[in-house]
Amino acid sequence: MLRTLLLTLSVVAIAHAELCKPDAQNAFKVRISIKTALGDNAYAWDANEEYLFKAMVAFAMRRYSSKSTTQISNVLLCNVTDRVSFWFVVTDSSKNVTTVPGSEVEAAIRMNRNRINSAFLLSDKTLQFLKITSTLSPPVEPSAPVWLIVFGVVLCLIVAGIVFLIVSGIQKRKKKNKESTERENLEEKVEVTLENGIPCEALDLKAGHINGVFAADDERFTSL
């Protein structure tokens, strides 16, 4: 009994070793860069993390094919290096000692990539599945092209400035014209009677002085 158990276990182990090795059929290489992603908060990669990884792959397979037959034990990891990198393969429990086709695994991983990344606090670049390309996120398109808005603002300010300057120029010129015509009118009125540059009207005003020397003072003159 014990011998059969040991025999089956060794067969299974050898079978597993056959299934999961670098560049095996339907096997994928994974490369993880924890220190690059998390810096000081980096966790160590140990057996528990490997268990989580197997669980996430099984979860992905279950969600993709929606049959609940994939177990954690179906996911085999091998060749774990210090990098951290390893190979994994998903076995099919219904058919003996075979692996799930690579295309199915790829599709499953692709569908659930976000969930797998979040479980490990990593991103597409730091948790790499070497043969599985990630779809590029579409570029962020703002609702209205930002540059047109800025351009509109700048143009409005400039046009307002030009209109202001032209209008103020016209007003200044109108005021200058009005002033010069007023001055001309004033000079015309004054030009009527001018004696030595002094308007005669001013001389008639009370402010005019009568020069006492030349005032008619009859006693001064000798009588004829």
């Binding site: 220190k35 951290v84 590029l136 540059w147 351009f151 400039i158 400035g161 300057l165 032209i166 120029g169």
Partner: protein, 611 residues
């Protein structure tokens, strides 16, 4: 005529609000984009600190004398370039006409550069910056091919901004976004020059002072960036061997000349709005020294940023190599750092040489990255924009940088437009009753319409042509005739008496020697050397061709014959103004002298103009 003439103060000519405004306008005209993107490049390729020697020599013997000459001329004769030269001698009016033609040509293409700056400015408000990421291709499987093979920055400049054609003969279509920006730029120029110096004098306070603020901010930020000191050491380490190469002296002479914006007529126009009792000698020396100091001051942040960019590129190169080595050998993360990279590589190479060779690692050399020198639009729109992406808070830095470039270019545009505007105003193209706003509006509108051809796909190739041919040789010719005209036609003794009357002290011997002998000789030598160098090989240009096998390197092409003819025309047209106008006046004089009843009005016009 050489006795102390009393110029009536109330001749209705507009004047500067104060001396500071006038100085600032001259400085703003002289300090332009070339101070930021040409001088640091020249320093770099001509032996760093050693370049300052020929630069200083050219400044003392060519720059300052010519500057003083132009300012004194404008201030004394109180006229724009055409009127001033007509006053000196009608046969020399062609010199003024040549200056005017050059100002027109330069105004046309200079505003396109401002258009590009404005386009980048309004695109800097986005997150992320549009030149930092490549757009996806049509079926979203990867990046746009042209962008992927070159860089995102190159793609944004050549495709998204210029939409450049692979050949100058292919004109392409008008780019509507550039037309909008061009219209805005001309509207800004119109806004600031609408009433001549009344409005530019107010605008110059902002456009001339703001660049210094931004340069200071960039200086402080630049010096804190990693790798800045490498860039600065590289820039300023003098290599005195380069002084043996005559090319260095030629570049220094031409740089001083174009940097001070001599022979455009703009400086004469600015000085003509001064009162005559003004110390033009001190002004000239001040403007020249401020211009050179600005060049030096600007090269410090430029080279800090370039050093930062080279260091970052070097680190990226190292990091990429490190990642491929770590992935290949499955070594733990952070086992190879930048410091121990070389020791690790030599160790691995000795143990696994085939594996290392199979990785095809690029050799990373910091000196190589520092040696990549660029000048002109490449520096601003490709190299600097790439460096800005790497800085934290890139939007703010991009906005500041492009506003600074815009102010620098705008204050130079004021001088150019003034060089076109003032002579036209004096020639009374439009009736005197019409407002000045109309003339400036007409100038801006016509220039905008002509400049639309630069918004075509091949526009930037044409800008290069204008820059190389219209704004180089003709200026040397005009400046030569300016010095010779004042020294030998107007006669230096008469001119020195005028300057003494204006400044209030006797003219120094230095000015006599430089105006009479050194400057004309130097200009002749520079002109001959310049033309000889241009003639040595057929004029060629580099084109951006995505289908070229060496892409992303630019393809070297020769100009077709009809383009070469245009180049010659551009260079010859302003120069030809000098003999043509002299001939015209000669013919007019001969015809008048043949008619005995006709009293020559020139005697009166001379007196009237000179009093």
């Amino acid at each position: 005529l050489s006795a102390t003439p009393e110029i009536p103060k109330e001749d209705g000519r507009p004047k500067w609000d104060n001396k500071f405004q006038y100085l600032l306008s001259c400085i703003g005209f002289a300090v332009g984009l070339g101070n930021v993107w040409r001088f640091p490049y020249l320093c770099q390729i001509h032996g760093g600190g050693a370049f300052l020697i020929p630069y200083f020599v050219a400044l003392v013997f060519e720059g300052i004398p010519l500057l003083h000459l132009e300012l004194a001329l404008g201030q004394r004769l109180r006229k724009g370039s055409i009127g001033a030269w007509n006053t000196i001698s009608p046969y020399l009016e062609g010199v003024g006409a040549g200056s005017w033609v050059v100002s027109v040509l330069v105004s046309l293409y200079y505003n396109i550069v401002l258009t590009w700056v404005m386009w980048y400015f309004i695109n800097s408000f986005q997150e992320p910056l549009p030149w930092s990421v490549c757009p996806l291709n049509e079926n979203r499987t990867g990046f746009n091919e042209e962008c992927y093979e070159s860089t995102a920055v190159n793609y944004f400049w050549y495709r998204k901004t210029l939409n450049i054609t692979p050949d100058i003969a292919e004109s392409g279509t008008l780019q509507w976004w550039l037309i909008l920006c061009l219209a805005t730029c001309w509207a800004i120029v119109y806004l600031c020059t609408i009433r001549g110096i009344e409005t530019t004098g107010k605008a110059i306070y902002v456009t001339a002072i703001f660049p210094y603020l931004v340069l200071t901010i960039f200086l402080i930020q630049g010096l804190t960036l990693p790798g800045a000191t490498d860039g600065l050491i590289y820039l300023f380490t003098p290599n005195l061997n380069t002084l043996k190469n005559p090319r260095v002296w030629l570049d220094a002479a031409t740089q001083i000349f174009f940097s001070l914006s001599l022979a455009f007529g703009g400086l004469i126009a600015f000085a003509s709005y001064n009162s005559t009792k003004n110390d033009c000698e001190k002004d000239a020396v001040t403007v020249a020294i401020v211009n050179s100091m600005t060049s030096l001051y600007a090269s410090i942040p430029v080279f800090s940023v370039l050093g930062f960019k080279a260091t970052t590129a070097y680190w990226d190169c190292l990091d990429r190599n490190i990642i491929s080595v770590i992935n290949e050998f499955d070594l733990p993360e952070e086992s190879i750092m930048r410091q121990n990279y070389t020791s690790w590589i030599s160790f691995l190479n000795s143990s696994y040489p085939e594996k290392i060779a199979g990785l095809k690692l690029k050799s990373c050399n910091l000196q190589e990255f520092l040696d990549q020198s660029v000048s002109g639009t490449g520096l601003a729109f490709i190299v600097f924009t790439q460096a800005i992406i790497l800085m934290p808070g890139s939007q703010a830095w991009a906005i500041l940088f492009f506003i600074m470039l815009f102010s620098l270019g705008l204050s130079s545009m004021f001088g150019n437009v003034e060089g076109v505007f003032t002579p036209l105003l004096e020639l009374q193209i439009i009736p005197k009753s019409a407002p000045k706003e109309l003339l400036s509006g007409i100038i801006c509108l016509i220039s905008f319409l002509i400049a639309l051809c630069f918004t075509l796909g091949s526009g930037s190739y044409w800008i290069d042509i204008f820059d190389r041919y219209a704004a180089s040789v003709p200026l040397l010719v005009i400046a030569f005739f300016e010095v010779v005209g004042v020294a030998y036609v107007y006669k230096i003794n008469r001119f020195s008496k005028d300057v003494e009357w204006m400044t209030g002290r006797k003219l120094n011997l230095y000015w006599h020697i430089t105006w009479r002998f050194i400057s004309p000789l130097l200009l002749l030598i520079v002109f001959t050397a310049f033309v000889t160098l241009q003639m040595q090989k057929p004029p060629s240009y580099t084109a951006w061709n995505p289908k070229y096998e060496g892409f992303p390197m630019k393809e070297e092409k020769v100009y077709p014959l009809w383009v070469q003819a245009i180049c010659v025309l551009l260079a010859a047209l302003p120069c030809l103004c000098v003999p043509l106008v002299a001939l015209f006046h000669l013919v007019k004089q001969k015809r008048r002298s043949k008619d005995p009843s006709f009293v020559p009005p020139e005697v009166f016009s001379h007196q009237g103009a000179n009093s």
